[in-house]
Amino acid sequence: MIKRLLAVWHARNLEFLRDRPTLLFTLLLPLGIVIAMGFVFGGPPRPLFKVGLLGTGAGSAHHPFLHERYVQFVPVQDEAAGLYEVTHQRIDLLLDLTGAARYWVNTDSPKGYIVEKLLIASDPGARRLPVTGQAVPYVSWLFPGVLAMNMMFSCLFGVGYVVLRYRKSGFLKRLHATPLSAFEFLTAQVLSRLSLIIFVTAVLYAGIGAIIHFHSAGSFALLLLIAVIGSLSMIALGLTVAARFASEEVVGGLLNLLTWPMMLLSGVWFSIEGSPRWVQWVADIFPLTQVIDAARAVMLDGAGIQRITPNLIYLAVTTLVFLAFGAWSFRWRID
């Protein structure tokens, strides 16, 4: 028995070690993730409190509160935007230094309570303007991200592996012998996957939404638009990966290489606002970031079409670019 066991063990080890792409991805993927996470979450200790600041002129720079440690000061566009942030507990306090110092603090916010103590210690004369409002629960904040992530996996792996399987089995070669064009085939794949994803996402939205008692603040039509254009972009991305390769290892590796950074950096699980600027630029390139940003704006803030138009344009342009590249590089058969 031991002899037979060793024979199979040895053969399987040889197979694994000689399958270079798989071996390479097995070694490099975790390494890459650790390095990437180090970049994203590394650096000096993060501030404990976030304070929105109105009036960042030279005169305000000498205010003693601005020199407190562990407080991050973020410029705020105007009072209305700042109030929105403080009532939704996205910032812990809003400070206005354009005239005599005044501040808004959310009386429902524990962190607001503490950071207010720090402010009063450095400027006892600052005028207090209390507001109330609950933070968006994490589960509600997470919901759009999880739906979008599910879409991403379905788009990339669902299309990428299916086309690869068709090519390897010779089914694509058989289709090539008919009047069907590459464009027709790819379009049919896109539409088929799109309808499935929209159906599944709608079911998940209704099901999970009912369980967590989630109600979208914005329009369902806009959410549908985001889901359709976002799915198109990610399906097209999956097709570019599957367009010419015939190896599961290579396609699997490339798909992992795309999905892992998107899953970590697109803000599915946590906001990457505090990470280095270049990380945010990289994240902005990913279609998933655009989908999540637009979906959260509509679902949590009730944003309208104007707010999400840049996201939609980006997704539409990437769809066309990915599809054009996919059609150009498409191979019906294994050479």
Partner: protein, 296 residues
Amino acid sequence: MPESANLEVHNLVKQYPAVTAVDGVSFAVPEGICFGLLGPNGAGKTTTIEIMEGILPPTSGEVRYRGEPLGPRFREEAGILFQKTALQEFLTVRQSVALFRGLYRHGLNVDEVLNLCALDKLAGRDNRKLSGGQQQRLLLAIALVNDPKVLFLDEPTTGLDPQARRNFWELVESIKARRKTIILTTHYMEEAQLLCEQIAIMDRGRIIAQGPPQRLLREHFAEVLLELPRQEFPEVARRLPLKLIDASDRVEISTDDLDGTLRTLMEARVPLRNLRIRPANLEDLFLELTGKELRA
């Protein structure tokens, strides 16, 4: 090239980095016949037929269909059965045929094709649960779904048991009766002899003989072949004035004077208890032309 040629192949060459798979092949396939491309594995048959199907680009040379380069008309009018084809999974036989029917503007209706290929009773079965012979019939049905004017069959009966092979031949005969042009590759000589009006024999990427099977046999062989086991054929008998052909396990003697040849063998005391007398076939022709057996 003949005026009625349905397909013309002009000086086809297909080179791969390490090998020339097709080396200057030319022939014409007249309308309404079954044309066989014969040869052993690796002779270049599949490469030639895939270039003719428009699947593989040639390194040089040209294929013309009805006098024109292969184009959209050819795609509409050609039916193809590849040597190996997988179908989309989780589809029934009927759904598989309907999928391909949807890709053509004209053709037979699905029921007609199922009936033609004796698949009516299997219409609702998952295409993964078919036997080898049933699978080949389904692939043939898919190749016929556009009612093609030209049908390519690449080694259609390889791997089938003898009964399934005979059933498939009957099916091809019924398609021939519809005046389709058929291009068939095979390494079964019996298949080619039964189905093909014309053949081209390929070896190492080249055509080494071409024409109607009976004419080729008449040209290369006398009336009959005598077969004797190699181990029973004495070395001294090789000096007799006979036309000998060496096969792996036997010695063949080609003759048009059966009585005289038998007399010569008996006088030379060659044991004749395992002697077999038969007409020459394409297998013998290949052996004669190349000095090697077809299935070697």
